[in-house]
């Protein structure tokens, strides 16, 4: 073993005080887990929300009576559902004043045929009038969706031969989309004209999604982009007047996004507050440990002085000890939080019932760096009082009589 050097001294000091070192590292680890884990979760939620907002091209959704909540759930979380009215209502709606674009969509919640599959939301859209789904699909899939073909969301289990089995029928999958962190990942998209076939297949297996007689006419929602200068609520009033139906449901996707964002911000705010309190408490603990060890180590520091250490060396020693503790705690904390969060992102997204999308490697890397900086800084702050004392110009460390 090579002899001691000044550079190795901090590590020897840490190694020979395993319990003190372990306690300090554990405190920093916990703080880092809270900081880095919290930041990672918040970032993923925000990414999911942004992605959801991007997918919401409509200002207003007109849905059947009492299905507004279902429609909202369909937008924000993964729960799928089936609801419909007939397309003559859709035509009435389209006549109202203030509508820029309008398109009908049909939602069918399928029972999964293959083993272990989750329920799949089938979304039928009309390529002729669609302004919501098509732009997004074409950004990833170039080509027209033929009748009978589907485009699958990211979480859909496409079998090896490029099909998906729904209602015991194999639908060819034209493309699979990238993850969005929203319910759209659990959806398959079909042409409006494919819907009657889907209904027919469902009837064949005894789970008729929509009564056969409505198969050609059922739509679930009319998505509306308001004309310039019209407010979504005004348009909703116009629709009620124009159609003469007072019982339609209205969903404002913008409002849904805004509500979700507000909830999320409140959540992040509370989490941040909690983190600040937690950090302060942890810092107090670290502070106390360093301060008490300073008293314990007075004699040790005096010995360094006697041997010819400058004040700078003593400060450097303390700084390197605490930075090492901070770094170790940071590395462990980030490893623990990463192991707990990154592999389980699908599960977390599902449990949260909020749009949750794992951010890219670059952002994660930036968060890791921030987490490490946070940990080392915490370690340094904890030792700052000790360092200041040690660098005081009037000699603080002397050898006393009888010591």
């Amino acid at each position: 073993m090579p002899h001691i050097t000044l550079g190795r001294l901090p590590f020897e000091n840490l190694k020979r005080k395993p319990f003190r070192t372990a306690a300090l590292v554990i405190v920093v680890t916990m703080l880092t887990v809270a900081f880095y884990g919290g930041a990672l979760l918040a970032t993923n939620l925000k990414t999911g929300l942004d992605s959801m907002q991007e997918r919401m091209g409509a200002d207003l959704m007109v849905v059947p009576q009492n299905t507004g909540a279902k429609a909202e759930a369909l937008l924000t979380s993964g729960s799928s559902s089936t609801f419909y009215f007939t397309n003559d209502i859709a035509k009435l709606v389209a006549k109202a004043d203030g509508i820029g674009q309008a398109t009908a969509q049909t939602y069918i919640s399928s029972l999964a045929a293959a083993c272990c599959d989750e329920k799949v939301q089938i979304i039928g859209f009309d390529p002729a009038t669609d302004f919501v789904i098509e732009p997004w699909i074409t950004s990833q899939y170039d080509g027209d969706l033929k009748n009978g073909e589907v485009v699958a969301g990211a979480n859909i289990n496409v079998s090896a031969d490029g099909t998906i089995k729904l209602y015991n029928h194999d639908f060819p999958v034209a493309a699979q989309l990238a993850s969005t962190g929203t319910s759209l990942d659990n959806s398959v998209f079909v042409n409006e004209t494919t819907i009657p076939d889907v209904v027919a297949y469902s009837a064949k297996v005894g789970h008729a999604a929509i009564p056969q007689e409505y198969a050609d006419t059922a739509v679930s929602a009319v998505l509306i982009k308001t004309a310039d200068g019209y407010d979504a609520h005004t348009v909703a009033d116009n629709i009620a007047k124009a159609s003469g139906i007072g019982t339609l449901g209205y969903v404002y996707p913008g409002g849904v996004t805004a509500t979700t964002r507000a909830n999320l911000n409140a959540l992040v705010g509370y989490a941040g507050l909690f983190l600040a309190v937690f950090w302060t408490m942890g810092l107090v603990v670290l502070f106390a440990v360093f301060a008490s060890s300073m008293n314990e180590r007075k004699r040790e520091f005096a010995a360094y002085r006697i041997m010819g250490a400058t004040r700078g060396m003593l400060v450097g020693l303390i700084v390197r000890e605490s930075a090492t503790v901070g770094l170790a705690g940071g590395v462990i904390g980030i490893a623990v939080a990463s192991l707990a969060i990154l592999p389980f992102n699908t599960l977390i997204g599902r449990q949260l019932q909020l749009p949750y999308l794992q951010t890219g490697a670059f952002t994660v890397l930036a968060l890791v760096t921030a987490g490490l900086l946070f940990a080392v800084t915490t370690g340094l702050i904890a030792s700052i009082m000790t360092a200041v004392k040690l660098s005081a110009p009037e000699t603080y460390l002397t050898l006393r009589e009888g010591e």
Binding site: I4, G308, A309, M313, G402
Partner: protein, 265 residues
């Protein structure tokens, strides 16, 4: 040649609002190779005097010169260098570092300033090296003691010059078998001897010993005092604070310190 010159040195402390001198107008000069002892009861300013000499405390008035440098006029870095290279300090208390092995404790002063000090250094006084070799040659030499040269050849990468010197010093003090122990495994006498080895590591011109025989038995006292005498004979100025009458037989001059005033005993 005077290594230590203390001129009219005073240091006052404030106790319960009134100033009192812990060290009162002290004059003292120690030359190369001289062995000087200061005796006196506890609380009479001996430790304060030593802290002033090493620059850990600054004087109220008067000057301390070590090897021509006025202590207190130097900045922290130069003062640290002086403490490291010119002064060796054997402390009264157990100031060995608990986290380092005995061997590393002895080596540490040599690596303190970044560059090795023990070999090829201009402070190098061959006579001190001679003295340590003398002591290894004394009959006290442990027969089991590993030959200083042989392992260096056998394992040249790990047994470098500093390690060799540290082992030589530990041999001289008959504690070489404790090299890999940690201080808490040592007895008081062993710790004292290790701290003497540490003080000698950088071949100081001035060796200060604060109660070096404080809690030692007669045999250990004899070993320590013989070594200090040999160190002085080899050209190092030695200043010792003690109240052990047995220790006074080895010194050249003895002073008494009483309420801060130094008088010839």
């Amino acid at each position: 040649m005077a290594i230590l010159e203390i001129h009219d040195l005073t240091r006052e402390f404030t106790r319960r609002g009134s100033a009192f001198p812990a060290v009162d107008h002290v004059n003292l000069t120690i030359d190369t190779g001289e062995f000087v002892a200061i005796v006196g009861r506890s609380g009479n300013g001996k430790s304060t005097l030593l802290n002033l000499v090493t620059g850990l405390l600054s004087p109220t008035s008067g000057t301390v010169r070590v090897d021509g440098h006025v202590v207190g006029s130097l900045n922290d870095r130069d003062m640290a260098r002086l403490r490291n290279r010119t002064i060796g300090f054997v402390t009264q208390s157990a100031t060995l570092l608990a986290n380092l092995t005995v061997l590393d404790n002895v080596i540490l002063p040599a690596v303190m300033l970044g560059e090795p000090a023990a070999d090829g250094n201009d402070d190098d006084t061959p006579s001190v090296r001679h003295a340590t070799q003398d002591t290894t040659a004394t009959p006290a030499t442990d027969p089991d003691m590993p030959d200083v040269i042989a392992p260096a050849e056998a394992d040249a990468t790990t047994e470098d010059a500093l390690t060799r010197r540290a082992r030589t010093l530990l041999d001289a003090l008959q504690v070489s078998d404790l090299a890999d122990c940690y201080p808490k495994e040592l007895s008081g006498g062993e710790m004292r001897r290790v701290s003497i080895a540490r003080a000698l590591m950088n071949r100081p011109k001035l060796l200060i010993a604060d109660e070096p025989t404080g809690d030692l038995d007669a045999d250990s006292t004899a070993i320590v005092m013989r070594l200090l005498r040999q160190t002085a004979d080899a050209g190092t100025a030695v200043l010792m604070v003690t109240h052990d009458p047995d220790a006074l037989g080895y010194v050249d001059r003895t002073y008494r310190m009483d309420r801060g005033v130094l008088t010839t005993a």
